[in-house]
């Protein structure tokens, strides 16, 4: 699945992008505004998609000369499916957070980073997860290893994508901060906290 445009697994055309924009607001929008907010599609492609969706009754058009304004028809029987599509990515993040909350050895920190966090990946992109192992838990710890295996399996089952997991020791955080490798820049810029201490706090307190 393309986690950056998770809805495209079910609605791969520009219609999907348009519907997700309209699901996010009750405000009627111009076609040009929708094209600007959509993740892809030219103004012309969005206009065509809107025409098709209006003919299906799923999108309402009101005239506001010289423009037309479009909104999602919240009474349409298919609208609940559209609203669910718009929140697939949120659902994935919720599932990840829940999975980490059940770990018998909780991570000091976990976050999503890389293309899945930046929303610029594609269907083949790995889902990168940074996990900080508590000091005192060995890298070879059987329970810890099982937890990592399980989260990787779960990500594959939920999305069809492999998880790229960085298993990092808490005691090495200070050194990473000092050396400032590229991955740290990715984490600082794009990281989405999933569990434990937020990354900015973790980096702030590491000695």
């Amino acid at each position: 699945m393309n986690v950056s445009r998770a809805y495209s697994a079910i609605a791969p055309t520009v219609e999907g992008d348009v519907l997700v924009v309209l699901a996010g607001t009750t405000q009627p929008l111009t076609g040009r505004r929708i094209a600007r907010l959509a993740r892809r599609g030219s103004v012309a492609a969005v206009a065509n998609a809107l025409s098709r969706l209006v003919s299906q009754g799923l999108v309402l058009r009101q005239e506001a000369p010289p423009a037309s304004l479009y909104s999602l028809n919240r009474q349409h029987v298919a609208t609940s499916a559209v609203e669910a599509l718009a929140l697939i990515r949120t659902k994935l993040l919720d599932r990840l957070r829940h999975a980490f909350s059940t770990w018998s050895i909780p991570p000091v920190h976990a976050s999503l980073f890389g293309s899945a966090a930046r929303q610029d990946g594609d269907v083949d992109s790995d889902i990168d997860i940074f996990v900080v192992r508590p000091a005192g838990v060995d890298a070879e710890d059987a329970i810890w290893g099982e937890q990592l295996q399980d989260i990787g399996d779960a990500v594959l089952a939920w999305t069809g994508n492999h998880a790229g997991i960085i298993d990092f020791a808490e005691q090495d955080i200070g050194q990473m901060r000092d050396e400032n490798p590229p991955v740290l820049g990715d984490l600082r810029r794009d990281g989405i906290d999933l569990a434990g201490t937020p990354l900015h706090e973790l980096l702030g307190r590491a000695q």
Partner: protein
């Protein structure tokens, strides 16, 4: 006839990059508000609450830029609440939170009176909820 009756809230166009910038502002305002709130002085109440209000305003901008492509421009914060209310899901609750938070703005920013400890705590709580909301909207 009033401006709002004819043209609606004043706004400025913005995009996803602006949304991320304003979320960063909101997070930093909130972080500093939390630090100031740990000081045991009456002045710190006003400053912490004032920073929490700024965090809430920036968070509202972030959420609106991402979903609407525009955010409130101008001194009337009711306009920002109007925009927030148009975000689905979650905009209605966020707008209520925002209205209560900015209700403290004049007292925190300009008044000779001090904000109470309870108001300061409430302001930081509401700002935290607004920043969490904006973060969630940007992750959709």
């Amino acid at each position: 006839m009033s401006r709002s009756a004819t043209k609606g809230p004043r706004s400025r166009q913005c995009d996803a990059a602006d949304a991320h910038k304003r979320l960063g502002d909101a997070e930093k305002y909130l972080e500093v508000a939390g630090l100031v709130a740990t000081e045991d002085s009456l002045e710190s109440h006003n400053v912490a609450a004032g920073l929490a209000v700024l965090a809430g305003i920036a968070a509202a901008d972030a959420a609106c830029c991402k979903t609407l492509g525009e955010s409130s421009r101008g001194p009337d914060h009711q306009d920002a609440a109007t925009f927030l209310r148009r975000i689905t899901p979650g905009g209605e609750a966020a707008a209520k939170n925002f209205e209560r938070l900015v209700g403290l703005k004049d007292k925190a920013h300009y008044s000779f009176l001090n904000v109470s400890g309870q108001d300061r705590t409430g302001a930081i709580r509401r700002a935290t909820q607004l920043v969490d909301f904006a973060r969630e909207v940007l992750q959709r």
